[in-house]
């Protein structure tokens, strides 16, 4: 199995193990888990596990993590607008992370869960090429 799957499984297991645990027990879980990682030489996966853990936490809390990519920094009103849009679509709380990506050429691309709303110039050019080829 490739690392991505391992990361997902490990993150989910530590999440489930630490659920409803009090202060002391949490420490034991953390210690056991790091022991396990060390034993199986998985230390290098720790950053990825943490990101995945964050995703799981957000999903369980009913929060959708969304990534908004654009070529220029977006104004707060635009971001707010996107947030309400995603909220109405998913019916869940939305947490937005804004990223700059010059490859998009223009427009924005919004990604949440495994969905994407691609309004970038790059994607539109791509669709146009596809149509002209047909």
């Amino acid at each position: 199995m490739k690392d991505k799957n391992k990361v997902k499984i490990l993150a989910r297991s530590i999440y489930l193990a630490s659920q409803n645990k009090t202060h002391r027990d949490l420490e034991t879980v953390a210690a056991n888990f790091s022991g396990y990682l060390k034993k199986h030489h998985l230390e290098k996966l720790i950053p990825e596990i943490l990101t995945e853990l964050e995703n799981i936490y957000l999903a369980e809390q009913g929060i959708v993590a969304a990534q908004v990519s654009s070529t220029q920094k977006l104004s707060d009103t635009t971001l707010k607008h996107i947030e309400t849009l995603l909220h109405s679509r998913s019916g869940k709380k939305v947490q937005i992370k804004s990223v700059l990506d010059q490859e998009l050429l223009g427009g924005v691309s919004i990604r949440y869960n495994d969905k994407i709303i691609d309004l970038s110039l790059k994607n539109q050019l791509h669709n146009l090429t596809k149509q002209l080829n047909n």
Binding site: R89, R111, H126, L128
Partner: protein, 511 residues
Amino acid sequence: MSYEYLVKSLQKQLSSFESKGQEESVGEIIEIGDGIAKISGLSDVMSSEMLEFETGHGQMVYGLALNLEEYSVGAIILGEYGDLKEGDRVRRTKRILSVPVGEAIIGRVVNALGEPVDGKGPIKTNDFYPVEKIASGVIDRQSVRQPLQTGIKVIDSIIPIGKGQRELIIGDRQTGKTALAIDTIINQKGKDVKCIYVAIGQKESKIARIVAKLEETGAMEYTTVVLAGASGSAPLAYLAPYAGVAMGEYFMDKGQHVLVVYDDLSKHAVAYRQISLLLKRPPGREAYPGDVFYLHSRLLERAAKLSDKLGGGSLTALPIIETQAGDISAYIPTNVISITDGQIFLETDLFYKGIRPALNAGLSVSRVGSAAQIKAMKKVAGKLKLDLAQFRELEAFAQFGSDLDEGTKQQLERGVRVTEILKQGQFRPLAQSLQVAIIYAVSNGYLDKVPVANLAAFESSLFTKLEAEAAEILANIEKTGELSADDETKLKKMIIELVDLEPKVEEEKKK
């Protein structure tokens, strides 16, 4: 092409373009290799849905989702996967894989996706058929009742194939399996049957030779070759027969007749085994996955004779299986034997004895039987199978001693002659009427006096004589499918006349 025209056509094309801000499902490749990709995300993808892989250079490669697992999706990649890498984006297309169908594909060599590979330009058609489709049900079918003429004496007389039947051609390597199928395709000339030859895992040199032969005989005018060569990837070899049958179904739905040859399904099963093992499906007998029976049954079930209400079209399937050292009890041969409506057995021993087609008449059967024969053939060939069966039984006996009674000797002589007459050269399919004439001669014992060595020469002189002097008898048989009493007397007279001209067995012995 003028500048204005270019601008105008571009404007026209661009006017229909609208940018859609649609929500799409995406995933990422987490593992790739050997034509198989593992993908994360795509939580709502459906089984056998087409996927779109985007390479680093922005090119598109298509794939097919086969495994839906808890955290990942397993997909086969249709085409070049060298440019794809981990982390590349994958999109859903919400479409099932389909191939172009219609008149435009006739006479072409295409790959498993229906793309031309013969360098004769693009295929222009607006019709597409899904490669995976549920076969016609009971209500949509009727029983097989028209003959599909192979032009091969031994097949048309004792194991007739009907339109809509599935007849397996099975044998070791180098026993003439492909030759039999190609002869059948060549014989469909002018009979309004569309042919589709699906080459799975074959050497491309062999395919080039076959295509050249089909072109030379004019058979390419009604034939499509679906090619998934040995150098192609396993996913394409896996898809090719389904693509071929989809192309055939189009004509069947239009009320026409189609013949599809799958050459060969052993290599198809091997390609599917490769895909299954790479997708980590558990291996079973001979390491084939559990659903290898369904793999072939769902393909061959799509052969059908449609009811008159649906146009009465038909799709005949001739699957080919290559056995290893005559072992027909291996996994794939037994599977396909049980699926099909009969089999044609070819044997190495017979082939080297000079009996070609090297068909074992005892093990070969057609479960449709005489329903798929014209009346004239039924009349003359009825005794043939019995003659052959008795001959084989006696042949073993006769080895021990020469003290045989007259009746037994007679049967042996007849058997030898029947066997000799049923030999036939490659690329020389015969019309039904000629087959009826020669089989009439041998099964009624008119040739018992002619030396075995002269039979081949006798056959060709009979055909020349018939074509020159009795063309109306041949035309009658072709037209009505029957051998009338009148024609029979004439035919009998001509045969006897011709036999009289030949040297006789007794005279030869005296010399």
